[in-house]
């Protein structure tokens, strides 16, 4: 099954332990860092990243190469690199799996990214539920430092770089990078609209580059094997690299799989995950976490990459595929998701703070037999207005509701007309 595809990030994954430093090095780890520090030009790292068309794996899919190059050459020091290991997007657990497998790949990736912008301080921002990963990271960072791979004068060069692990208090919004920077500075984690951009004035007013765990983990491979190699990993021409897909819900083998971008959804479900659970029928899935819209059976064979999903008016998000079968009530599922967004809204802007509780109330009424036909246009208008919220939280939060009304209006109407949830009867 998955072995048919090249494994990059999870190649040496062990069932119940991490790849140790020596194992990682034996498999060619830290080679990229050594080469960069001794032979390669800093600029070359940036060029390779840009050429590799590596898109951010944290959910937004922003080109990593462009972000790196927005840190101005003459920007002030110290500069910071933040690794976003918050991963609180419902359905997403790929960073957790990865951190429990390859901590050194992340450390090396961070060192490389940091070197390319001459950052001296690295911070891994991690959610409290991942305490075990935080401990692993702290331990392995110590080991790497002992081996001269971190700290002062890395590998005998004149480059210094330190990494610390920052534990979050636990809130979804902390994954949003501007909110995360506030959190890191001991402030309330409300997002902050640019300008200034973090790469210009981030942590403590200094240039800060922030990337997702998986994005950073790709860097050593790109540096080592080149941009073209990375692009060739994907199945579709516009895409580049592999992706950690984490599949959950009504499949036989939920889990995290490294697969080439552009792989068909049907293949993920059938080949990797062993098909639908209990022989049920595929009804829908969220392709990239709670902030994406439902893909229905119409898209069962969609190629899972950033572009294809965009064309389907959806998003690849975090690559967290959450699968529903024909027993699932999509109104109830959407109500559950809306509950999440109502609870986690940071409370900064009005539409999001008040809109989600309002939408939750309307969906709850529909699910529980108090729905009215008039709710549907109300919900649609409100969702449209929630797009005008302050940050990307709310547009993500209404994605499921909007796609519910787009794809499952019949099911919603059945709730309203039947005064209750047809799936509960």
């Amino acid at each position: 099954m998955t072995a048919t595809y090249p494994q990059v990030l999870l190649k040496n994954r062990k069932p119940d332990r991490i790849t140790t430093l020596s194992e990682y090095r034996e498999a060619g780890g830290y080679e990229a860092l050594r080469r960069v520090l001794t032979e390669m030009d800093r600029q070359e790292v940036k060029t390779r990243l840009a050429d590799a068309l590596l898109l951010g794996r944290g959910g937004a899919g922003f080109p990593a190469g462009i972000k790196v190059s927005t840190v101005a050459e003459d920007a002030p020091f110290p500069r910071y690199l933040v690794c976003n290991a918050d991963e609180m997007e419902p359905g997403t657990f790929k960073d957790r799996v990865f951190l429990h497998a390859e901590p050194h790949m992340l450390i090396e990736g961070m060192a490389l990214a940091a070197y390319s912008i001459r950052a001296s301080h690295g911070i891994i921002f991690i959610r409290p539920e991942y305490e075990s990963a935080a401990k692993i990271l702290e331990r392995e960072i110590g080991i790497a430092r002992g081996e001269g791979l971190l700290g002062e004068r890395i590998l005998g060069s004149d480059y210094d770089f330190e990494i610390v692990v920052h534990r979050s208090g636990g809130r979804y919004i902390c994954g949003e990078v501007t909110a995360q920077l506030n959190a890191l500075q001991g402030r309330r984690p409300n997002p902050k609209q640019p300008p200034p951009y973090a790469t210009d004035k981030g942590l403590w007013g200094l240039p800060t580059l922030a990337n997702n765990v998986e994005t950073l983990a790709c860097i050593p491979h790109i540096v080592k094997n080149g941009a073209q190699w990375f692009k060739d990993l994907a199945l579709t021409p516009e895409a580049a690299g592999t992706k950690l897909f984490c599949v959950s819900g009504k499949v036989n083998r939920p889990g995290c799989y490294e697969l080439p971008l552009g792989i068909k959804l049907s293949e993920i479900i059938e080949t990797c995950c062993g098909g639908m659970k209990d022989g049920a029928t595929f009804k829908a899935c969220l392709p990239g976490g709670a902030s994406t819209g439902y893909l229905t059976a119409d898209h069962y064979h969609i190629e899972m990459d950033f572009d294809s999903l965009k064309k389907a008016r959806n998003r690849l998000g975090t690559g967290a595929v959450m699968v529903f079968d024909h027993h699932c009530c999509m109104v109830a599922a959407t109500l559950n998701l809306t509950e999440f967004f109502a609870r986690e809204s940071c409370g900064w802007c009005t539409p999001c703070r008040e809109g989600f509780p309002y939408l939750r109330d309307l969906l709850w009424r529909i699910e529980n037999g108090q729905g009215e036909a008039g709710f549907i246009p109300m919900i649609k208008t409100m969702c449209r207005h929630l797009w005008k919220s302050y940050c990307a939280f709310a547009p993500g939060g209404v994605a499921s509701i909007e796609s519910l009304l787009m794809n499952f209006e019949d099911e919603v109407m059945a709730h309203i007309e039947g005064k209750g949830c047809p799936f509960k009867k």
């Binding site: 609870r343 409370g347 539409p351 509780p357 207005h385 005008k388």
Partner: protein
């Protein structure tokens, strides 16, 4: 200067103007909750959404977050924008109580206005409203969290703008809570502005609760007279009682805010013991008779002892009208005075400051915020002129730097450098600084090495916009003049270099223009003691509360043939006076004041005089007694009373006032209405009034090494005599203490927390000792607190020998 089109009208605005502000210039008021001109934009409430149809920005955007740019075409009436704004308001109303008809904020509530204007009239949401528990935030501000619409103005104002850290936002999502970590008194002396800044009724004015609705009030533009800054405010009265102050925005003076001393200090105007009855030797009588009696007493004294035997003292807080008529009367009749300062030093201090304030140096309170480096000399902003502290905080927020040279343990709500220098060293430091500014190496005065004068001079020289702030309370005239010299020295090399003095009294600037050679009460007492003065007229000058030697005052008054008191506050002197004439506070008289930077400002009368219904009705309403006359309406504007004492019996005093104002001083021109609100003609003030040349050496030079300088100083709450009468503010006061450096406490054999008695010239002052590590060595600071009989030593800056200090056991 970008040009853009808003609702089909073109406008040209300075770069950096937000679209919401550009629209406002066109008279288009785009809805807003989180945006506030003093706090800036954060884009949180989303109610200012408009449509950008052409140009560099497209779609529905928040007009507070977008800089006006060339070629923008903006529609505020776009259907999608309007619908979105309507929804935002609906969202805000989900949890908002439906108590508008009885809510304290109703009628002046931005949320109410926008809900009506935005067209959200019918509730669609069927869920429950979330509710919160309110907190007791102290005597000034009432908290009602259920009304909150989460605009974040309060926490941003409180923390970012004022620099205090005990009010903010807690929780998350739709349950965010604005308040304190635990109930309790708000720490910021600027907390009252929360009331003005909250767009709904979360923070309301506590002392005026349930007194009336704002539209019932008589509201007029007024001024704060509790320090010399002259902050603008709107005063409200109800049933002949002043009930509320609100900040009145004046972007050249106080910006959008006022301090709590100013906001709540008004109670004196309506309290039960305010004297409203004219009296002869303590016996009430009709005011015309009493005035006639006083005039007769004056005539007799003049006949017997000559015109100079009549002396007048007046308050530097009195209106310009009063000062002018007093000045005219003294000039015409040859009376002694008027004295408008207590001691010779204070009189000289004030006049030195005024004469040093050249037009090219004077800066306003608002302009202070634009300074890059501010050197504060001998001033304690938070305690002496609170809004100055807020202004200086904005300097620091904009990346500027504040250095304070002052012996007191000055505290400010931001990071600043403090040189706690002994008062006797201030002059030498200033002199050295001036030399260094001029490029000459100065011999460093005898100060700690941390006070690096060369570095400071370099900093000021390099500053694009330095300002010198100088107090006039604890310093000597010499130092005050040196502060002026310093600003002048900076001005030589700077396009803009400012000078900003604080003075003692809301109209102290005008008081300085009374004479070329200032007269003090101290000097008048000398003349009483030597028999030269036989009759004293005290105009709104409560000598009993304010003169720094009560014993001497009382002895001197006993020597008088006659005392005439005109005042609106209760004082034992009123009953001792041969004739007492009640006067009107500014809420009744109105008038003009000149603030410390020389700005002429007007206060309108807010209400007719008379005893409040609260008092006449015995708190019952409506009153049970009806009369054609308002009870207690006798008080006169002080200038009228003085005119009556000085002029003819039945003469109309209006022409007299007109002449007096016209003759007052060439710098002050009231003949055009435009003059009000502007700085007076500083050029017309004699700048050689007091020369900075060789000045009297500070007395401290002769003091023994183990002496301390006792400074009787101002505190934010509790020392300013009028505001100290406000019950709400007395709860804000700290108890009076003597502050000393801990080492000093040890050196003098005193003990922290235990009282110390200072005995000087047979007078004694006992006050508990408090350690303050920020104090300079050799200095003791005691507030002129109304709970303390501090009026003992004749001066507010005196030398105390060690032998004159005694530690009390309890």
């Amino acid at each position: 200067m970008p040009t853009l089109k808003i609702d089909n009208r073109e406008i040209n605005v300075p770069a950096g103007t937000k679209v919401i502000e550009a629209a406002e210039r066109l008279g288009i008021m785009i809805p807003r909750f989180c945006f506030h001109p003093a706090l800036g934009s954060v884009g949180a409430c989303r109610v200012c959404a408009v449509a950008f149809t052409e140009g560099p920005v497209k779609g529905i955007q928040m007009s507070c977050m977008i800089d006006a740019q060339d070629g923008m075409v903006v529609s505020t009436t776009d259907a999608e924008a309007v619908d979105f704004r309507r929804h935002v308001i609906e969202f805000l109303m989900l949890n908002h109580p439906h108590d508008c008809p009885v809510c304290d904020e109703g009628g002046h509530c931005l949320l109410q206005d926008l809900t009506v204007a935005g067209g959200h009239g019918l509730r669609r949401y069927r869920g429950l409203k979330r509710t919160h528990i309110n907190q007791d935030l102290g005597p000034l501000v009432q908290h009602e969290m259920n009304r909150c619409i989460q605009c974040y103005r309060c926490s941003r104002y409180y923390q970012e703008f004022t620099g205090y850290r005990d009010l903010g936002v807690m929780g998350i999502g739709s349950r965010v809570y604005f308040g304190r970590s635990a109930p309790g008194m708000l720490e910021s002396p600027f907390a009252g502005n929360l009331i003005d800044i909250c767009p709904t009724g979360v923070y309301t004015d506590k002392p005026s609760r349930y007194i009336g609705r704002r539209w019932d009030y008589q509201r007029q533009p007024s001024l704060c007279i509790h320090c010399s800054l002259g902050c603008n405010l709107t005063a409200s009265a109800r049933y002949r009682q002043v009930v509320r102050h609100e900040a009145r925005p004046n972007l050249e003076v106080n910006g959008h805010f006022i301090c709590d001393r100013g906001r709540y200090g008004y109670a004196y105007a309506s309290i039960a013991d305010r004297p409203r009855q004219a009296m002869a030797a303590g016996t009430p009588g009709p005011i015309v008779d009493i005035l006639a009696g006083a005039r007769e007493a004056i005539q007799q004294t003049v006949e017997k002892h000559g015109p100079g035997s009549v002396a007048v003292v007046v308050s530097p807080r009195s209106s310009l009208e009063t000062l002018a008529v007093v000045k005219e009367a003294c000039g015409q009749h040859g009376w002694t005075g008027p004295a408008a300062a207590h001691t010779n030093r204070q009189a000289l201090n004030r006049n030195t400051a005024v004469s040093c304030l050249r037009p090219e140096l004077a800066v306003s309170l608002a302009a202070d915020t634009e300074a890059h480096d501010v050197l504060v000399i001998g001033a304690d902003p938070l305690n002496e002129a609170p809004m100055l502290a807020l202004s200086l905080r904005q300097v620091q927020r904009r990346g500027g730097h504040v250095i304070v040279i002052d012996p007191r343990g000055v505290q400010l709500p931001f990071d600043f450098d403090h040189w706690a220098v002994h008062p006797s060293a201030m002059g030498a430091i200033l002199q050295a600084l001036i030399q260094e500014i001029g490029g000459h190496r100065a011999t460093a005065p005898d100060t700690p090495a941390t006070f690096d004068i060369t570095k400071l001079a370099r900093r000021l020289n390099a500053s694009p916009r330095p300002v010198v702030v100088c107090g006039t309370d604890i310093l000597t005239p010499h130092e005050i003049a040196l502060a002026g010299d310093l600003a002048r020295a900076l001005r030589r090399t700077h396009k803009v270099a400012g000078l900003f003095y604080t003075l003692a009294g809301a109209n102290a600037f005008a008081a300085a223009l009374l004479h070329d050679q200032p007269v003090s009460t101290e000097a008048v007492l000398d003349r009483i003691e030597d028999g030269g003065v036989r009759l004293l007229v005290a105009v709104e000058q409560d000598l009993w509360r304010e003169f720094p030697d009560r014993k001497r005052l009382q002895a001197a008054l006993k020597r008088l043939d006659h005392l005439v008191v005109l005042d609106y506050v209760d004082s034992p002197l009123n009953r001792e006076a041969g004739h007492f004439i009640p006067t009107q506070p500014l809420y009744e008289s109105g008038g003009h004041w000149i603030n410390q930077e020389g700005r002429l400002q007007a206060a309108s009368p807010v209400m007719a005089g008379g005893e409040p219904i609260e008092i006449t009705g015995g708190s019952d309403h409506p009153p049970r007694v009806f009369d054609r006359r308002i009870p207690g309406d006798e008080p006169l504007a002080a200038w009228r009373a003085v005119a009556a004492l000085a002029g003819e019996d039945e003469a109309d005093p209006a022409p007299q006032l007109k002449t007096a104002l016209a003759d007052f001083h060439p710098a002050v021109n009231l003949s055009t209405p435009e003059a009000t609100g502007q700085r007076i003609d500083l050029e017309a003030i004699a700048h050689d009034l007091v020369e900075s040349g060789p000045a009297p050496e500070p007395a401290e030079d002769d003091a023994p090494a183990d002496a301390v300088v006792l400074l009787l100083v101002d505190w934010t709450f509790g020392t300013e005599p009028l505001s100290a009468m406000a019950p709400a503010l007395t709860r804000m006061e700290a108890a009076p203490v003597a502050r000393l450096h801990p080492d000093e406490i040890a050196r003098l054999g005193l003990a922290e927390g235990r009282p110390v008695t200072v005995s000087l010239n047979g007078n004694r002052l006992t006050v508990p000792v408090q350690a303050d590590p920020r104090m300079a060595a050799g200095v003791m600071a005691v507030p002129r607190h109304h709970l303390l009989e501090w009026q003992v030593f004749g001066e507010t800056r005196v030398i105390v020998k060690r032998s004159q200090l005694k530690a009390e056991s309890e």
